[in-house]
Amino acid sequence: MTGVVVDVAFWIFAVASAWFGWRVFRTDSMVRATFSLLASFAGVGAIMVLLLVEYVGVALFFMMGVEMVVMAIYMVAFMMNPAGINPMQMLHQRRVATAVGVAVAGALAAVAVAADLPEAPLVAPADTIRALGHELMGGSMLLMQTVGVTLATTMVAAVVLSSARGRFGPADDGSRPPPLDPDEQVEAEPAQAAARGDGHGHGGHG
C-alpha cells in the first residue's frame, strides 16, 4: 500500500474509533453502548494492521468480538436500563473524570509533541508471527503455559458451576418461578413437584 492510502485509512479509523468511543457514553441502550465500544476497538485493530502489527491487530477483532458479546449479555442482564426504556446516566463522577481525562490527554499530547520520535519509515518485518511463536514457546513458555492452563481451568470451572445439571443433582432443584402478580405470595411448594405433576392441585389461580 502506498503512503497516502495508509495515511487516509489511518485517519478514517482513528476518527471512527474516537467517535464510537464517544457514542458509548451518549446512548441509553446497553446493546448500543457495548457494540459501539466493539466498533471503537475494531478501529484500533485496523490501525494496528496499518502499523504492520498484523497478527495482534487481527487477533484484536475476535478477542474483542467474543468479549463484547459476553459483555452485552451481562449489561442487558444486570444494568438498570437494558434497552433504553428508563432514563439513565452513563456518566459518573463527572468532575473527577473530566479532570483526569484532560490531564491524561494533555500528557499524551505533550509526549507526542515533545518526544524525539524516530522518523525511520516502517518496513514489514519478514517473520513477526514466527518471532511471536518463538517467544511464546521459548522465552515466555512457562508464563504462557501457566496462564493458558489457568484460563482453561477457569473456563471449565465456570461452565461446571453454571451448568443446570451437576453431580449434586439439578441446579434448579427447589427453586420456584416468580409469581406473575408481584403482590402474590410465592408458593411454599417447590415448583419442581408441581412441574412433575406429582404435587397436589392448587386452587385459586386466576
Partner: protein, 315 residues
C-alpha cells in the same frame, strides 16, 4: 503480508467477492429446492429448481417490509449488511484459484476466525433490533450455540495450519498439493468443521436462532426486502463455508485437467449439497442438548484432533 496465492486489485476484489457470494448463495438456494423436493419424494427438474429461488426472491421484493413498535432502526438495517460483509471478509482470504486470492494474507485463519466470531454480533443484533420477544430468544440462542461451536473452528483451522507451517489458506492448499489431502490426513476435521458451518449460518439441524418453533426466530418480524437480504446473507455465509471446507480439506482449486476455479466450484458444490441434504434429513437439535454435546464431546474431540495433527505433522 501476502502468501502464495497473492492479492487482487481492490476493484477486481469487489467484483470477484460480489460475484462469488451472489452465485454461491443462489446455488445454495437452488440446491435447497432441488434436494428438498427429492427428499420429499417429488423430484423437481433442474430448471424448476433453478427458477424457484428467483420466484421466491421476486415475491419477497414485492412484499412490504414490516415495522415493529419502537425498533432499533439502524441496527435492524445494519445486521444483514454486517453479516454479509463478514461472509465477504471470510471469503477474501480463501484462494479461489491456485494463484489467485483476493488477499491471501499470512494471518488467513485468524481473519476467518474473526469473521465468524463477529457473525455472533450480527445475528444477535438482528434479533435484538426488532424489539420483539421471539427474535430476542433467537438472538440469545445463537450466542449460546456460538460460544459452544466457535472453539471447534479454532482447533480445526489450527490443526490444518500445522502441516502447512503457515496460517495462510494459500499455504494450507499448497501443503495438500504436495502431500495427502487434509480430509484423509486429518479425518476428524471435516465433520467438526461442518458443525461450525451449520452453526454459523444457523442452517438445518443447528438452526437455533431462526427455527420454526420461534416463528422464524430473529427473522420472525422481517418480511419483504429485509427478509430477502437476510435469507441471501445466510446462504452467502453457507457458500463461503463450503468454499472454505473445500480449500482446507479437499485442496481447494488444485486438481488435474480442469481449471482451478472449476475444481473449487465442484468441490464446494459437493460440500454444500451434503450440508443441504443434512438440512432436509436431520431434525433440528435441541439447543441445550447441542451445548452439552458441544462442550463434553465435540470440544474434547477437537483437542484430540489437534493433538493427532501435531503428532502426524512432526512424524
Amino acid at each position: 503480508m501476502i502468501e502464495v496465492a497473492g492479492a487482487a486489485h481492490p476493484l477486481v476484489a469487489a467484483v470477484v467477492v460480489s460475484a462469488v457470494l451472489g452465485v454461491g448463495a443462489y446455488a445454495v438456494a437452488a440446491l435447497e429446492t432441488g434436494i428438498g423436493a427429492r427428499v420429499a419424494g417429488h423430484p423437481l427438474g433442474v430448471t424448476a429448481s433453478l427458477r424457484a429461488p428467483l420466484a421466491q426472491a421476486a415475491l419477497l421484493l414485492a412484499r412490504p417490509a414490516v415495522v415493529t413498535e419502537r425498533p432499533d432502526g439502524p441496527l435492524w438495517v445494519l445486521a444483514p449488511a454486517l453479516y454479509a460483509a463478514l461472509a465477504a471478509t471470510a471469503l477474501s482470504v480463501l484462494p479461489l484459484a491456485t494463484d489467485f486470492a483476493v488477499a491471501d494474507v499470512r494471518t488467513g485463519i485468524v481473519v476467518f476466525g474473526s469473521a465468524e466470531v463477529l457473525a455472533m454480533v450480527a445475528v444477535y443484533l438482528h434479533g435484538w433490533a426488532p424489539n420483539s420477544p421471539l427474535p430476542l430468544v433467537g438472538a440469545y440462542r445463537f450466542i449460546a450455540s456460538g460460544c459452544s461451536f466457535l472453539l471447534l473452528s479454532m482447533f480445526v483451522l489450527i490443526a490444518a495450519a500445522l502441516p502447512a507451517e503457515s496460517m495462510s489458506f494459500g499455504r494450507i492448499m499448497a501443503s495438500q498439493q504436495e502431500g495427502l489431502w487434509n480430509v484423509l490426513r486429518q479425518p476428524l476435521g471435516l465433520p467438526l468443521f461442518a458443525v461450525v458451518a451449520l452453526g454459523v449460518s444457523f442452517f438445518g439441524p443447528l438452526d437455533f436462532s431462526d427455527g420454526h418453533e420461534l416463528a422464524g426466530g430473529t427473522a420472525a418480524e422481517v418480511s419483504g426486502p429485509p427478509a430477502l437480504a437476510w435469507g441471501w446473507a445466510r446462504r452467502a455465509m453457507l457458500a463461503t463455508y463450503a468454499i472454505a471446507s473445500a480449500v482446507v480439506f479437499l485442496a481447494g482449486p488444485s486438481g488435474p485437467w480442469l481449471p482451478g476455479p472449476l475444481w473449487l466450484a465442484l468441490k464446494a458444490l459437493a460440500i454444500a449439497a451434503a450440508l443441504v441434504w443434512l438440512r432436509h434429513t436431520v431434525g433440528r437439535v435441541q439447543i441445550d442438548r447441542f451445548v452439552l454435546v458441544a462442550w463434553t464431546v465435540l470440544l474434547p474431540l477437537a483437542f484430540l484432533h489437534l493433538a493427532i495433527a501435531g503428532v502426524v505433522t512432526l512424524a
